[in-house]
């Protein structure tokens, strides 16, 4: 005989009661695991959407509208480059990458093109469209993949090529990157020479076609452009790749507004707003269900344990008469609670994951897979609930007056 065998034999004796408690905790965990799993993949889907859009937060001079910025109204206001340092030195959460820019109009080949000054490393971090496919700028995408402006250049990251490293890490003052449309119009390719505002440049690379305004731009180093146009330390805007959670919760935007009171902070989170709302709703649901499972599952188990103690009074008295210590008796009941919790958690994980995999794609708009981390959480949570709910009846059993328990008086 062992404590576990004693517990197991007793569990098998009353399968009906056991099944009821097991279902109470197991189904509760099923719902929580399903919601959490779907929510996780839904958040990832939102993050992917936002990332695919590239920068999702714009910092502009106070008087400049988003329309002005995208129509490249180069005569509009400017703001200090010092803002970049202010953001980087702050403790703001959710800034995956930021790219400061200064765009100016310049005459080239008989027409005007936009020359945009960029910090190359940061710019490539923000440009998901440049990162797609197998091109030299390919990088992993998704919220959190760009941990710092340089993260995608760290050793060990996939899709590294010597060319990309060279371009991104060292865009020389006399080098430019040329948008696909400009390159086609002026027959430019890597190594071609061109003159802009009296300064000679070499085309370092022709950028992939993106279908955006970038195709009709020429990019040089930010400081080169600032120098060329005698606008040292000036920017037109800062594009930020913010992580979706921080944007969804509004913490990033409010943080930026506080940090840069003289600038205008614009977000494009509305694009994924429906899904963000779904995520928020699922987050709330998971809290509601957690509360429900604690109350209903916990009360069910507590009730089961209490009636179990009542049914086993004579047996408890007998075990005490045979010399079982109160602590051992407590262990017998708590071991039963642990068994219920562990099996309920396992069931909840398996059933919840299955439910999420089957129904999740309709909600998350993305394939949903089981999350192994929730196996541990489900077991831990359901065991915790079962043990806490059983504690009082178990203590009562351990503290029973054996004379009363035996009903022999």
């Amino acid at each position: 005989m062992t404590t576990l065998r004693l517990v197991w034999r007793e569990l098998r004796e009353r399968p009906g009661q056991l099944a009821t408690s097991f279902l109470a905790i197991g189904l509760g965990m099923t719902i929580i695991v399903a919601i959490k799993t779907v929510a996780h993949f839904s958040e990832k889907a939102v993050a992917r959407q936002l990332d695919e859009l590239g920068a999702n937060v714009l910092i502009l001079p106070k008087g400049v509208s988003v329309g002005d910025y995208y129509s490249s109204d180069v005569n509009s206001e400017e703001m200090p480059e010092e803002y970049v340092g202010r953001i980087l030195n702050s403790s703001l959460q959710g800034v995956d990458n930021l790219s400061p820019k200064l765009t100016q109009s310049v005459e080239f080949g008989g027409s005007r093109v936009l020359l945009t000054g960029i910090l190359p490393k940061n710019e490539f971090g923000n440009k998901a469209v440049w990162a797609e496919g197998d091109g030299i700028f390919a990088r992993p995408t998704g919220c959190g993949t760009v941990k710092s402006p340089l993260a995608f250049l760290q050793p060990g990251q996939p899709d590294k090529t010597a060319v990309r490293r060279a371009v991104v890490e060292e865009l020389q003052p006399n080098e430019v990157l040329v948008g696909a449309e400009v390159a086609a119009a002026h027959n430019l390719k890597a190594g071609s020479k061109l003159t802009l505002k009296g300064k000679s440049f070499v085309v370092r690379q022709v950028l992939p076609e993106t279908g955006t305004v970038d195709d009709s731009r020429v990019f040089a180093h930010l400081h080169t452009v600032q120098k060329l146009f005698a606008k040292p330390g000036k920017l037109n805007g800062i594009e930020i790749l913010g992580c979706c959670e921080s944007i969804a919760q509004g913490t990033l935007i409010s943080g930026l507004n506080k940090l840069l009171p003289d600038a205008r902070v614009v977000t494009i989170k509305q694009i994924a707003s429906t899904q963000l709302k779904t995520n928020t709703l699922m987050g709330k649901f998971s809290i509601i269900f957690l509360a429900l499972i604690v109350v209903v599952g916990g009360a069910g188990i507590a009730n089961y344990m209490q009636s179990n103690v009542q049914q086993r009074l004579r047996e408890i008295g007998t075990l005490m008469a045979l010399g079982m210590e109160p602590r051992s008796l407590l262990m017998v009941f708590l071991a039963k609670a642990v068994f219920l919790g562990v099996t309920g958690g396992l069931f909840g994980y398996v059933a919840g994951s299955a439910l999420a995999v089957v129904l999740g794609p309709q909600i998350a708009q993305a394939p949903v897979l089981p999350l192994p981390v929730w196996l541990g959480w489900a077991v831990l949570l359901s065991t915790g609930i079962a043990v806490v709910a059983s504690a009082l009846p178990a203590f009562r059993a351990a503290r029973l007056d054996p004379a009363v328990a035996l009903r022999e008086l």
């Binding site: 004693l6 004796e13 075990l319 045979l322």
Partner: protein, 224 residues
């Protein structure tokens, strides 16, 4: 071995105040076979539970082998029961979901014996009482006589010095009752101290000392 000094115990039963023990005095030596007789509600079972460390008296003290039983902590009192006292109940109180083998293993498990020791000892004991072919049977699958034998083997599994028996023949037919009494007599002759509560005078007659209980008080009857 056992000494009760001015032990009183009152409790409520079905809303009524009941006197279980009333200034009870008792001294039992090692090796005695004591029968306690009395009418229903006279306090016989309360006496047994008090002797077994299962019912704390309101006043007075209970000494077992020289130490005050109710001054011990709960775990120590449980250990005293495990090591010194065996209980035999009228309705056997076998654990219904355990087999005969497992029921007898329980006291050995509580005493900290290994699984292999439990298994070996339990088989031997049950085979000795003719239950070798009933090891894996649950109480409901055993006859009353067989259940009684399992209960006795369980009570004696840890080789206690004292056996407390509450109406041990109450559920048995005369032949089985006679068989059990002969067995208890033999155990007593081997040195086991027995305190047996019964209302059956013919059963009480097998004991070497007779006590009568009335309204929680103990009086001595003639002793063989």
């Amino acid at each position: 071995m056992i000494r009760l000094e001015a032990v009183s115990k009152r409790f409520r039963l079905r809303g009524r105040e009941v006197t279980g023990l009333d200034a009870a005095e008792l001294h039992i030596e090692d090796g005695e076979f004591v029968a306690v007789v009395g009418s229903s509600g006279s306090g016989k079972s309360t006496l047994l539970l008090t002797l077994g460390g299962l019912s704390r008296p309101d006043t007075g003290s209970v000494h077992l082998n020289g130490y005050s039983l109710y001054d011990l902590s709960l775990p120590d009192r449980a250990r005293a029961r495990r090591e010194t006292i065996g209980f035999l109940f009228q309705t056997f109180n076998l654990v219904p979901y355990l087999t005969a083998l497992e029921n007898v293993q329980v006291p050995l498990y509580l005493a900290g014996r290994s699984l292999a020791e439990q298994e070996q000892e339990t088989r031997r004991l049950l085979e000795e009482v003719g239950l070798g072919d009933r090891l894996d049977h649950k109480p409901a699958e055993l006859s009353v006589g067989q259940q009684q034998r399992v209960a006795l083997v369980r009570a004696l599994a840890n080789k206690p010095k004292l056996l407390l028996a509450d109406e041990p023949t109450g559920s048995l037919d005369p032949a089985r009752a006679e068989e059990l009494m002969a067995q208890l007599k033999r155990l007593n002759e081997e040195g086991l101290t027995i305190v047996m509560v019964t209302h059956d005078l013919s059963v009480a007659a097998r004991a070497t000392r007779h006590l009568r209980m009335e309204l929680g008080r103990i009086s001595e009857e003639n002793t063989k």
